[in-house]
């Protein structure tokens, strides 16, 4: 059983704040906000919170909506996202006996495609399959456009 998620109201705020901040240049998010779908999505995530760890969920939502540039000094330039490597990692994750039942449970219990992608991304984050998680986040971004 996962611990309770006291920061989920924060996630709701994050989702709504991000929608508001980005509404001007992101039609999809504006639609979400207008239709109150963002609020519904977060409410549903609250109800389904046993699907995944709170920290992973926060991490996914943060990556989904946050566009900030971090300061500091990096070792090297960021490289472009490697979709084929991420797909290969997703296949590996799906074959992992610790991950597969969690992904199957989500596919069985969550019918809404957006919510399903959020939970899958959170489980992949939880299990350390970060490229596969980023693939799911990119798919989410496409859906929300």
């Amino acid at each position: 059983m996962n611990p309770p998620c006291p920061r989920l109201p924060l996630a709701a705020l994050l989702l709504l704040a991000a929608s508001t901040a980005m509404a001007q240049d992101c039609k999809g998010l504006q639609d979400l906000q207008d239709s109150a779908q963002a609020q519904t999505t977060v409410n549903n995530i609250r109800e389904d919170k046993e699907q995944t760890d709170c920290g992973s969920l926060m991490s996914v939502l943060d990556r989904l909506f946050n566009t900030r540039k971090t300061g500091g000094r990096k070792l090297e330039e960021d490289r472009p996202f490697n979709a084929s490597a991420a797909q290969a990692e997703l296949t590996k994750a799906q074959a992992d006996p610790e991950v597969r039942p969690r992904l199957e449970k989500i596919r069985k219990e969550v019918t809404d495609p957006t919510r399903r992608l959020v939970y899958e991304a959170a489980v992949l984050n939880d299990e350390g399959y970060y490229s596969a998680r980023d693939l799911r986040i990119n798919q989410l971004k496409q859906q929300l456009k």
Binding site: R68, G71, G72, R73, L75, Y130
Partner: protein, 364 residues
């Protein structure tokens, strides 16, 4: 760069408040912590944004203000700039000499103020804390399943490298793993270090992780980010007059303005690249103390070099048929090319080879 600009005011405030505060970290204003370390400023470069020592003669830059005041005073006497320490006091809000209306901050003093380290540690930590809080959700929790798996390895790498630094330093390094499969690392001022989890997954990548972490520690100990923040503060003292000068010259000769901006941007870019190469050099010197054999040092460097992007030829300059087209090309370069780029693969390899030779010839 964008992320830093809104912090300008914060930093100015930090400089003022830290002068009166009692931070948990050791006091940069203290003169009680041992002999002063006076930096030789005989050969101050003609421009401020220059990496004086790309081969990393000193692994740790002094940070105590007393050291830097002493260095600046010595330099001021040499240059006949007797008011300079008073100027620095004024900039830091620490009182000191009264500044009269003709008390102008000269170019030499500005260059010295950019080369020296006068920003208090607490200002560095304040800046880093703010950045760190903003990226909490990207970090691996120590008590998570993945955290328990990877933090022991990361902590061991940090502790091995820190054990190799015999010079005194005042940072308390804090290491975090980023939930990313990339092979990158990052440092913030104040000693905040970040390693991608992707660097810890295999023994081969862990060799690169040693180099990555040594490189990032070097950025902190060389105070690279801090020096750039200092430059922003120092530059703000004459920004208005510079801008007016530039606007006046723009009326009759727009190309001169474009050339000036291009030159300034080129200098800034070069400075950033040289700082990266300096951090590479310091990393090699640190790792030469970590690894007992040349072979192990070479393996770590090779792990880094092998993971760099494939070397590409430098883009050749497009020949423009007339001056207007040439100027348009220059403007395009200014807008499109990043100011803060890393050295390319060839530059990094060449520099690493030089430092490796230096280190191994010197006695390994």
């Amino acid at each position: 760069m964008n992320a830093r600009m809104p912090l300008h005011t914060l930093l100015a405030l930090a400089l003022l408040t830290t002068a009166c505060s009692t931070p948990q970290l050791s006091n940069p204003f203290s003169s009680q912590d041992g002999p002063q370390h006076i930096k030789d400023l005989d050969h101050l470069p003609s421009r401020a944004l220059v990496v004086v020592d790309r081969h990393c003669a000193e692994l740790v830059q002094p940070y105590r203000l007393t050291d830097n005041f002493a260095s600046l005073s010595v330099f001021g006497l040499k240059e006949g700039l007797e008011a300079m320490p008073g100027q620095l006091n004024k900039m830091l809000g620490t009182g000191g000499a009264e500044a009269g209306p003709s008390d102008k901050l000269g170019d030499s003093a500005k260059r010295a103020a950019k080369q020296l380290n006068w920003m208090p540690m607490s200002a560095e930590v304040l800046y880093a804390e703010r950045q760190h809080q903003a990226r909490q959700n990207e970090l691996l929790a120590r008590d998570s399943k993945q955290g328990r798996k990877y933090y022991p390895t990361a902590d061991k790498i940090l502790s091995d490298i820190l054990a190799s630094i015999h010079e005194p330093y005042d940072y308390q390094f804090k290491l975090f793993i980023v939930t990313s499969d990339e092979h990158n690392a990052l440092a913030l001022p104040g000693g905040y270090l970040y390693l991608d989890k992707g660097l810890l997954t295999t023994p081969q990548l862990q060799q690169k992780a040693y180099f990555a972490l040594a490189h990032e520690i070097s950025h902190v100990l060389q105070r690279h980010e801090t020096k750039e923040m200092q430059s922003v503060v120092v530059d703000s003292f004459s920004a208005k007059s510079d801008l007016l000068k530039l606007m006046k010259s723009a009326q009759g000769n727009p190309k001169a303005v474009v050339d000036r901006i291009k030159l300034e941007k080129g200098q800034f870019t070069r400075h950033h690249i040289d700082q990266e190469l300096q951090a590479d050099s310091c990393a090699v010197k640190m790792l030469s103390r970590v690894y007992p054999t040349r072979q192990q040092l070479a393996e770590s460097l090779n792990a880094f070099i092998k993971d760099l992007p494939a070397a590409t030829a430098d883009p050749t300059a497009k020949a423009a048929s007339n001056q207007t087209l040439a100027m348009a090309g220059d403007v395009e370069d200014i807008v499109k090319s990043p100011a803060m780029r890393h050295p390319n693969t060839q530059e990094r390899k060449a520099n690493l080879q030089e430092i490796y030779q230096e280190v191994t010839v010197a006695g390994k």
